[in-house]
Amino acid sequence: MTTTEQITQARDAAELEAIARRIREQIVRMTHAAQSGHPGGSLSAVEILTALYFGGVMRHDPSDPDWSERDRFVLSKGHATPVIYAALAEAGYFSADWISSFRSLGSELQGHVVRGRPPGVEMSGGALGMGLSFSVGLALGHRLDGRKARVWCLLGDGELNEGQNWEAAMSAAHFGLDRITAIVDRNHFQNDGAGTEIMRIEPLAEKWSAFGWGVHEVDGHDVGAVTQALCAARETDGAPQVVIAETVKGKGVSFMAENPAGWHGKGPSDAQLAQALEEIHS
């Protein structure tokens, strides 16, 4: 039977850092095995998912993925499958043995997220801009049912080019939904290059604020600080909250972080995998 205590139990700081390293390792292993996938925007979100799933932020139960009172995590940047699969496997939603099948024919681990496949994935995605609206729908449904469940929605910063995000932001505030938190993985790079060159989204905090959201800004690679920011968002009533997490695309793997646009959507070679693993565990 699922209880609140077992769900919200947080790991200590050293343990969270160890978990983040294991998730990073799985991200590079997965994209190496598939020779495709999206490592850069997965590595930037590692501490965010670590905090959510292991930092005592989200109420969830890996042994009961359909628990009706669970918090929902919606991966709107649906190409960042390596990081969510690694986090779900680490949490015990499915066997880590599945990881090597990523993106192969018949795998439960599809290239972009598919609802319920594997267990723990709440929404199908891959077409950007839809997740926050879906989250608004979840939050409206929970409110109708009198549920306390919260919705956590991870957005890419490049994804914010899509106008639907701002339709969703408008509607979350309009409907007075305060059990919804958006998290922006602010890694500054999108598919074609630097966001400043492709499509500028600053002033980002002011945009969210103008849409009626409470804004929290944080170093997205300080897992303790991310946990604190997410908890602060959770404790704030009266308006939807956004956590803007300042991150580095490819964080933890030097050759990816130094060339983020080059590592949006491909897998490392054997030699690159070896180097990446050495750096992650050093």
């Binding site: 077409a127 801009g129 609206s133 879906f134 608004v136």
Partner: protein, 317 residues
């Protein structure tokens, strides 16, 4: 089915508000969404008795569809309504990824389908929506012919867990069905028996097709008439049976001749029972302003056009 001259003309869209209220009163766990066109779709009628179950998201169809998917993920039966040009037009990808791929319990009720929208002109006249919707795996696509069938289809949709697209229209039309008529997804309804040709129609073209059959009968051509309210899943057995028994087929629809009822019937015939066939529909062009009756004349969506097509089909036997 019987012809009901006694029932007043009504628009198929008028079924929507009535169906929502009926479903909610009967205890269905429905919610409904609109995108700033609720007075036209009738969706706002739900709010008169169940205000907490109705949401208007403003003029933002993409947001509406993704919100609908999220609500469905919490176990609700969700209706979403707009005009057929905007839904799917403004939100095709949201319907594709979040409704169809996720097989969400969402019913899309698209009002103001076809050229019979009238004076608003080309941008407001959906002639390609059925092509877009039938091409989505798992999407059920229904085009009711009158207000009675429309309400029955909406109730049937609420009793099913899969995604549906129901296209209704703006003009007031003669009622074809009695109140007791039953709608069954995927079943063609035989409206008139005949052995010389089969006329297969949906939506607004059903009643004119019945009139065409009367004209043809006076000429000695006995036409079978099928109401093919469900475009998907298509009643292929009824089509093949009609082809074998009558030897000539005509389709009639208020939609582009590419990608709608005619295309679906032609595919069935080509694969299973090659048969002479003629199409009545919009000849691959956009609409324009005008009264809805004048537009049906302009686009040759009339009893005369159906009868002429039937004569051509019979001549090819």
């Amino acid at each position: 089915m019987t012809s009901q001259a006694a029932l007043p003309a009504a628009a198929t869209r008028e079924a929507y508000g009535a169906a929502l209220l009926r479903l909610a009163r009967e205890g269905y766990e429905i919610v409904a969404l609109d995108a700033d066109l609720s007075a036209s779709t009738g969706g706002n009628k739900l709010a008169t008795e169940f205000p907490e179950r109705w949401f208007t998201v403003g003029a933002a169809e993409a947001n509406m569809i993704s919100i609908a998917a999220g609500l469905a993920a919490t176990g609700k039966t969700v209706f979403a309504a707009s005009f057929a040009v905007f839904m799917p037009g403004h939100c095709y990808d949201q319907i594709r990824v979040q409704i169809a791929q996720q097989r969400m319990n969402v019913k899309l009720v698209a009002s103001h389908g076809g050229v019979s929208v009238g004076e608003d002109g080309a941008s407001a006249q959906a002639i390609e929506d059925l092509a877009l919707m039938t091409a989505l795996p798992g999407m059920n696509v229904v085009v009711p012919c009158d207000v009675v069938e429309a309400e029955a289809a909406m109730v049937a949709a609420a009793q099913d867990a899969e995604p549906w697209y129901i296209r209704v229209g703006r003009p007031k039309l003669p009622v074809v069905y009695t109140e007791s008529a039953q709608f069954e997804l995927g079943r063609a309804d035989l409206l008139r028996e005949g052995s010389d040709v089969t006329l297969i129609a949906c939506g607004l073209l059903v009643e004119p097709t019945l009139r065409a059959a009367e004209t043809l009968a006076a000429e000695g051509i006995e036409a079978r008439v099928l109401n093919m309210a469900t475009l998907k899943p298509l009643d292929e057995a009824a089509i093949v049976e009609a082809a074998r028994e009558t030897g000539a087929i005509v389709t009639a629809e208020e939609h582009n001749v590419i990608g709608g009822l005619g295309s679906a019937v032609a595919r069935t015939l080509a694969l299973q029972a090659p048969t002479p066939m003629e199409q009545v529909g919009v000849a691959d062009r956009f609409g324009e302003s005008g009264s809805w009756q004048s537009l049906l004349e302009r686009f040759e969506l009339t009893p005369q056009a159906v009868a002429a097509a039937a004569r051509r089909a019979v001549a090819r036997k």
